[in-house]
Amino acid sequence: MLYREAGQFKASYATDQQIFPIRQDRIAVAALTALAFVIVPLVADQYWLSAILIPFLIFALAAVGLNILTGYAGQLSLGTAAFMAVGAFGAWNFVLRVPGMPLLVAFALGGICAALVGIVFGLPSLRIKGFYLAVATLAAQFFVVWALTKFNWFSNYSTSGVITTQRMEILGFAFDTPRAKYFLTLTVVVVLALAAKNMVRSSIGRAWMAIRDMDVAAEVIGIPMLRTKLLAFAISSFYAGVAGALYAYCYLGTVEPEGFNLDLSFKILFMIILGGVGSILGSFLGAGFIVLLPIFLNTVARPLENLLGLSLPPGLMSNLELIVFGGLIIFFLIVEPHGLARLWQITKEKLRLWPFPH
C-alpha cells in the first residue's frame, strides 16, 4: 500500500516525463540524496568514507559510463580501465601544466581526453559487432597502458611512471580530508548520474537503445549509425575518464598506468552485468555489490580463521574468497540474469500490489 502510483494522475506530458514519474520514487531519491549528503558524512568514519564509500561512488560512475555504451548502446567494451587511465593522467597533466587550472575543469578536460580516445577506438564499431568488438576494445586497454608507461611525458618524467596527485583546492577550500573528498566525489557523481539519466530518457538515449535492439531498423528510421555509436563511445569514455580522475585524486592519491589493467575493466563490466545492463540504478547497485562483496568475505573470513585456529593452510581463506566470489557471480547470473536492478523492479511491482495478492 505504501508503494502505489494509483491516484497519481498525470495532467500533462511534462509531469509524465519527469525524471522520476512516481511520487514515492521522488521521495526515495530525495531521501537518499539527503542521506548521502547530510547523514553519511556525520555518521560514517574514515574507514567507511575512504575505503568503501568513495571507491563505491567512483566505480559506480565508471559503471554508469560503461552502461551507456554497453547497456544502452549495446557495444560491449572491455577497455573501461584504459579510459579511466586517460582521464586520470589527463586531469593530472592539465593541473600540472596549466597554471591556475581549476580542479573541476581539469577533471572535465581529463574526461574529454578520454572521450577523444574513446572515439578513436570506437570507430571500428561501425564494422565490428559483438565479441569481435569486445576483443577489439582490448586493443584500447593494452595500447593506452603501454603508451602511458612508455612516454614519460605523461608522468612528467618521473622515473617510475607513477603520478602523485596535487593538492586539491576549489575556490580556496582544500579537499584533503576523507569527508571533503567524499563530498567532492558525491557531488560529481550525482550530477553526472542525473545527466546520464536525462540522456537515456531523451532522444539520444532512445537512439542508443534503438541501435542496440535493432540496428537496421534504427538506420531506417534515420538514426545516424556513425554519430550515435561514436557519441556513445565518447560519452561513455568521458564518464570513465572523470571516474579515473576521481580515482586518482579522491581515492588513491597516487596511480600508475598498470593500476588501470584488464582486471579493473572486468570489474566494472561485472558491476553492470550484476547490477543491470541498461539501468543507471543498476550501475550503482552493481558497484556496491562488487565493492562490498570481497570486503565482506574478507571480514567474515579472517575472524573465522582466527576462530578456527592456525591449523588452516594460510592461503585457504584467500582462495575460498575467490571461489565464493566467482561462485556468487555465477549464482546471481543464473538466478537473475538481468541483474539487481531487475530484482529491484520486480520488488517494486510486488510492492505496488502489496498487501493484496493481485
Binding site: S202, S203, M209, D213, A217, V220, I221, G222
Partner: protein
Amino acid sequence: MATAARKSGDVVLKLENISLAFGGVKALSDISFDVREYEVRAIIGPNGAGKSSLLNVINGVYHPQQGTIMFRGKQRRDMDTHEAAAQGIARTFQNIALFRGMTVLDNIMTGRNLRMNATFIEQAIWVGRARREELENRRKVEEVIDFLEIQHIRKTPVGRLPYGLQKRVELARALAAEPSLLLLDEPMAGMNVEEKQDMCRFVLDVNEQYGTTIVLIEHDMGVVMDISDRVVVLDYGKKIGDGTPDNIRNNQTVIDAYLGVAH
C-alpha cells in the same frame, strides 16, 4: 472501395532497371516501376519473389548493382537509409523490427528522432530546447497513439505485447515520422480477420487523412485488391505484371505464376 475516385498525383518515386544480387544469387532483375503521390501501391508475388528486397532498395538498406532510383525529382544510383528517412520515407518490416528493450512510447518516440535537434548536452541538462522538444514530440506521438488506439499499452515494453499489437506499434513508429511515403512489408501477416480489418482501416485512414503515399507488400489478395490503387507483381525477382487490381486479376502470366506456385 472507391479507389478510382481518389486523386492520384504525380510520380514521386520511380525505379528504373533495378538489379540486385547477393553473391551469385539474383534477387531482383531489371525491375522498373513507379509510385504516384497519394496512391496505395501494392507489391505482390510468391515467397522469395524479391518483394522485401525491393522495399529495401527503395529506402537504402540494399544497394542495387544496376539501375536508378528517382525520388522527389532527384535521380540517383542508390538510396541511403538516412537520406531516405530524412526525405520522408518510413517503413515497417516483415519480421517485426521493434526495439524490444524499449516501451511502446519510447519506440514510437524514436520515430521522431529526426525532428529533435537538441544536442546531447542540452538533453543531459534537460533544459530549454531539449525539454521543449520532448514535450512537443510527445504530443505528436500521443496523436499517433490515439489514432491507432493503443493508449492502454503506452508504457508496456514491446517484447511483452502480442503479435498483432506489435505490428500496430511498428506502424505507429513509422507514422510518428509523419512520412510522405510509407513502405509496409506485410502489415497484416499472421493476423486474424478482425485484426486485419483494423489494420486495413488504419492504412486507408493514413492514406486519406494525411495524404500519405503507401507502398505495400501483402499476401492476402482480398486485402490487396480492396485497398490498392495499382499493383506490381513479382516472381523470381522479375516483374511479371503491373496495373490496376482489375488488370492484374485478369493477367494470364500472373495467374499462371500464382497457380503454378500454389500448385
